[in-house]
Subunit: 196 residues, 2 copies
Amino acid sequence: MAIDAPSRRRRIEDVASALFRERGYAATSVRDIARALDVQGASLYAHVTSKEDVLWAIVDRAASRFEAAARDAEQATAGAGAADRLAALIRAHVGVITADPGAASVFVHEWRALGPERRAGVAERRDAYERRFRKAIDDGMASGEFALTDSAIAAAFLLTALNGLATWYRPDGRLTPDRIADHFVDLSVRTLAGAT
Amino acid sequence: MAIDAPSRRRRIEDVASALFRERGYAATSVRDIARALDVQGASLYAHVTSKEDVLWAIVDRAASRFEAAARDAEQATAGAGAADRLAALIRAHVGVITADPGAASVFVHEWRALGPERRAGVAERRDAYERRFRKAIDDGMASGEFALTDSAIAAAFLLTALNGLATWYRPDGRLTPDRIADHFVDLSVRTLAGAT
DNA sequence: CTCGCGACCTAACGAACGTTAGGTAGGAGT
DNA sequence: ACTCCTACCTAACGTTCGTTAGGTCGCGAG
């Protein structure tokens, strides 16, 4: 086997990501995933223990990527101001989404389909992740870099706009991930720091 | 029958809206909807011809509301500048979402579950609706009210942020619909008109 | 050569799905 | 009193779902 051939398990998750993104988890059957791999539905169970397990693997990996990217962004801007830190967080967020839009979209939209305990865990990680953005916004308000009357609604506004990228991004689109990140940083800073 | 008692059909659609919003169309069974109404699953078919028909009714009505609200907003700001027109469009959008978050959320997220012909029709109406925002943004760029380098990505950014409200809005939340509209207009204008 | 193993197959399971058929109860209109 | 009509019921249909069982094939290692 070639050294970098993706494992069968991994290829299943990638195909499932794309299908879950397009139709949603509930509307995608195990046989749909198998058909995209030119295989019988039952054959997947040699590599996978359940359908929800595939969803969990996708969501968990995507969550870890977002977390790692945000951690790196914060470390790289340790001494800088809140606006620079937020810009780095946004670039990291855009980078994770564009690197794997399927997984990112599933993470954003389909995690509700998980069982109660896993869903609760994801909700917690999601909240912690959003708090990093929230903190950067609050710090920016405190330092005068941002001019806002309500950081909670600004954070919700911004994060939804950022996450929307997972829905509409296409690798063959007009803009490269870097250009999109540029625009997103620009738009976000305008949103928060507009002249009052 | 009391004059303003909602019809049984309408009550089914309202309950279905809420369930579709929470779990998605595919993950909600006809028997789930029936259980929420304290009725057997098969009993719904006295009022409804199919599950997809319920989805279609919800989506179609929501689409009509968005269209009517946008039309009114444009008429009310016929002589004003692009920024004022966009502000009116945003207020209208927020108003429709907060008036019926279930239907709005289903319109935004679940229309993909419709059959091909209906889905295509909704996609077209959706595009036409978004073009109204796009036009206001382009007009604002032309008149100098907005300072942007790429109206397409700004429109996508903005519309996703606006639509996100359908996901996180709760009637018993901290902010009234009017206050949310104030914030959304403020944030949007900042996003588009930031000092460059 | 043979052994084991990864990858796949067919067949089938019970459960849940959307939907249909046919029937019952009660209230409103004549 | 009789007849609709609305609203609901139980029972069942065919299909699809996620999943299990058991078998086949080919290939690399000993």
